[in-house]
């Protein structure tokens, strides 16, 4: 019983990682770049929802939509201003460094606008806690909503990529930008669309993250962002189901090692497992081995 209760905590934490990792892996899979600013777009989503509910008094669910709109626009603007000019840069490191720069830019702008005092975030989820076995096992509404949203997002993304024209274009761009362009695909538009979707997902992730762990500050997104990146690598970066599985596993391992081994060493254990997995399967759990074309 104790084990199950810890397992549920693990799924709770893992589902938050998973929903962030989905956005990471989506952008990496298509644009082949690590968007380190993803964690901070999440934070912006959290703030957008926070102000929509607290200052404008809109319904929490509407605030999620507002957050999505804000983040989608932000994602497109970031891509347009920061990443697009560097798309043909000689080194892919240039984009990576820019992404880190964007991350700091967002953090510090948020610091200037919202101040540094952490804010209490009121959960947008209004589902009562589920009690099983006479209340010995509790599953919070946030956990259920996060897991269900994860699955819905995962299914929708997979369908979108494989069944729609824009999705097919994304696959083509990820395979070979030059050839895709020759086939009449608008590469810039496709990558912009990828960022728009990724950032929209970030908004959902931000709201869910802040609902589960109810404080919000300009640094809220950075550490979960890094953990989610690890989860995406763990599951196989670029793979959408991989991000989901990686996120859940990471959360479960973290909580169980806290519970049964040492609360102090949990991060060391998580990263130890990551190293092990990558040694046995360098592309991650569900990662595909792509032959490097010469």
């Amino acid at each position: 019983m104790k084990f199950i209760s810890f397992l549920i905590d693990g799924i709770n934490l893992g589902s938050v990682y998973a929903v962030i990792a989905l956005g990471y892996t989506m952008v990496y899979g298509i644009a082949k770049m690590l968007n380190f600013a993803h964690g901070d777009v999440i934070m912006v989503g959290g703030f957008a929802s926070f102000f929509a509910t607290s200052a404008m008094g809109v319904n929490p669910l509407v605030s999620v939509l507002i957050a999505m709109v804000v983040c989608t626009i932000l994602g497109i603007v970031i891509e347009e201003l920061a990443y697009r000019p560097l798309r043909n840069a000689a080194s892919s490191l240039a984009v990576l460094i820019t992404a880190i720069g964007v991350s700091y830019f967002l953090q510090n702008t948020a610091l200037l606008i919202f101040g540094s005092a952490p804010k209490q975030f009121n959960s947008v989820v209004n589902i009562p806690m589920l009690m099983l076995f006479d209340g010995r096992i509790k599953i919070s509404g946030e956990t259920m909503v996060t897991v269900i949203s994860c699955i819905i997002i995962m299914v929708c993304l997979t369908l979108f990529i494989h069944k729609t024209k824009s999705g097919q274009a994304m696959l083509a761009v990820s395979e070979d930008k030059g050839a895709a362009k020759l086939m009449g695909i608008n590469v810039n538009f496709t990558i912009g669309l990828t960022f728009a979707i990724g950032s929209g997902l970030a908004a959902i992730a931000g709201v869910l993250l802040c609902s589960t762990y109810p404080t919000l500050s300009p640094y809220t997104g950075s550490m979960p962002g890094i953990k989610a990146f690890v989860a995406a690598v763990f599951g196989g970066i670029g793979s959408i189901p991989g991000a989901f599985i990686g996120g859940l596993l990471l959360g479960i391992i973290e909580i169980l090692s806290k519970a049964y081994i040492s609360s102090q060493l949990s991060d060391a254990i998580v990263f130890g497992v990551l190293i092990l997995v990558l040694m046995i399967k360098p592309t991650g759990i569900l990662g595909k081995k792509l032959q490097e074309k010469v």
Binding site: D9, L111, G115, S116, P118, Q120, T215, P224, A259, Q264
Partner: protein
């Protein structure tokens, strides 16, 4: 490209001219006390840094109105370090370039340790209002206004035992933070001599400080009726809300890092903190005249009740003033000369402040004063009368 180059050269020229100007400023005979402050004005612990920044300003203004220290006016400048060690050292360098004589800072232990390496090299007098780690005062030139961590840990352990507050105690602390782990170690040592037992010791690190359900569950399973939290309020706020979700309601007991929980997290549901007890040297609702005057002035100017860090900083300025007056130091002595005189005077000084009556210092820089226990009642701190 050409434009860029022009712009760049313009920038370089401006900086050069600017640096020449500051050069002139330094060469003039120093006629004021230049007191610098360092602390987190932004970031997770801004509540502390801003408190310190504002309180120093109040004290400096009061002293200047009264004619300064031995007739010499004070200039004051505060730099932000965002609770980041490197930024704290950078802030120190900026202040040194400005011509600082005496440093009041940094606010947090980690930053103070980082900066004390530099102040010791430069032989500059450093008085930290709130860094409580023993390592922060390792160097001869550094003194403290607040308690050291060992004192807090020992004091808290003894207080819980003396007042029979619990039979089973759990501890949740931040093992990546020198403040938190320092208190915990001494707490554990002293708890061994107390009538209660520690049934669970759980840690977290700065990289995983959002989910505390496991730590709380383990404390609950071990049957702890008191949870000791030697941590800062940001994490404590999350712990309180997660404990409530779980339906776990022990007594929560904190140290000075818990100070700020009522106002530090915007929109925090203060009913969660009801009944939380904390040991701190300062109570804003104390009835003595100086505390009331300070609290009133602070509330008028900054619109909030000062926390313990602000009170420590306010005392810090007056301690510096007292030490200067008794040692007869002047700005003309230079940084190193001032430091020599003040360091010699500090162990002989006896000071009554708003964070403690009859404060005295050991030659190592440690302060000696009494802690007060406060309980959060109806959304406000109130002093526990023993």
């Amino acid at each position: 490209m050409k434009k860029m180059k022009k712009l760049l050269s313009l920038l370089v020229v401006t900086t050069m001219v600017a640096s020449m100007l500051t050069g002139c400023g330094n060469s003039k005979e120093a006629t004021t006390w230049k007191i610098g402050g360092i602390g987190p004005a932004t970031g997770d612990y801004a509540q502390y840094g801003l408190g310190v920044k504002n309180a120093i300003q109040i004290a400096v203004d009061e002293i200047n109105e009264d004619g300064g220290i031995n007739g010499v006016q004070i200039e004051y400048r505060f730099e932000d370090d965002e609770t980041n060690n490197e930024k704290s050292v950078n802030a120190y360098n900026t202040l040194k370039d400005w011509g600082m004589n005496i440093l009041i800072g940094s606010v947090t232990s980690g930053c103070s340790i980082a900066v004390s390496g530099k102040t010791s090299q430069d032989h500059m007098f450093q008085l930290t209002p709130s860094a409580s780690s023993v390592d922060a005062i390792k160097n001869d030139n550094v003194f403290q206004v607040c308690f050291t961590d060992p004192n807090q840990g020992t004091g808290a352990a003894a207080y819980i035992g003396d007042n029979n507050m619990a039979t089973k105690v759990a501890v949740i602390y931040d093992s990546s933070d020198v403040y938190s782990s320092g208190i915990y170690e001494k707490f554990a040592l002293e708890a061994a001599n107390q009538p209660y037992e520690i049934v669970a010791t759980e840690a977290f690190t700065k990289d995983s400080k959002t989910d505390f359900t496991v730590q709380l569950k383990k404390a609950q399973e071990a049957g702890a009726d008191l949870v000791f939290l030697p941590i800062y309020y940001t994490e404590a706020a999350l712990i309180l809300s997660q404990a409530k979700t779980m339906g776990y309601a022990p007594t929560f007991f904190g140290c000075d890092g818990m100070d700020g929980i009522l106002t530090g997290v915007e929109g925090f549901d203060t009913s969660l903190a009801e009944g939380v007890i904390l040991l701190t040297p300062f109570a804003a609702d104390a009835t003595d005249e100086r505390t009331q005057a300070f609290v009133k002035k602070y509330e008028e100017r900054y619109g909030e009740t000062p926390n313990q860090f602000a009170a420590d900083a306010y005392d810090a300025v007056y301690i510096v003033k007292a030490a200067i007056e008794e040692s007869g130091a002047t700005p003309a002595d230079g940084v190193s000369g001032i430091c020599d005189k003040l360091v010699k005077k500090m162990p002989e000084l006896k000071y009554d402040g708003i964070t403690g009556e009859g404060m005295t210092w050991s030659a190592t820089g440690e302060v000696n004063k009494n802690a007060k226990a406060m309980v959060i009642k109806n959304g406000a701190y109130s002093l526990i009368q023993n």
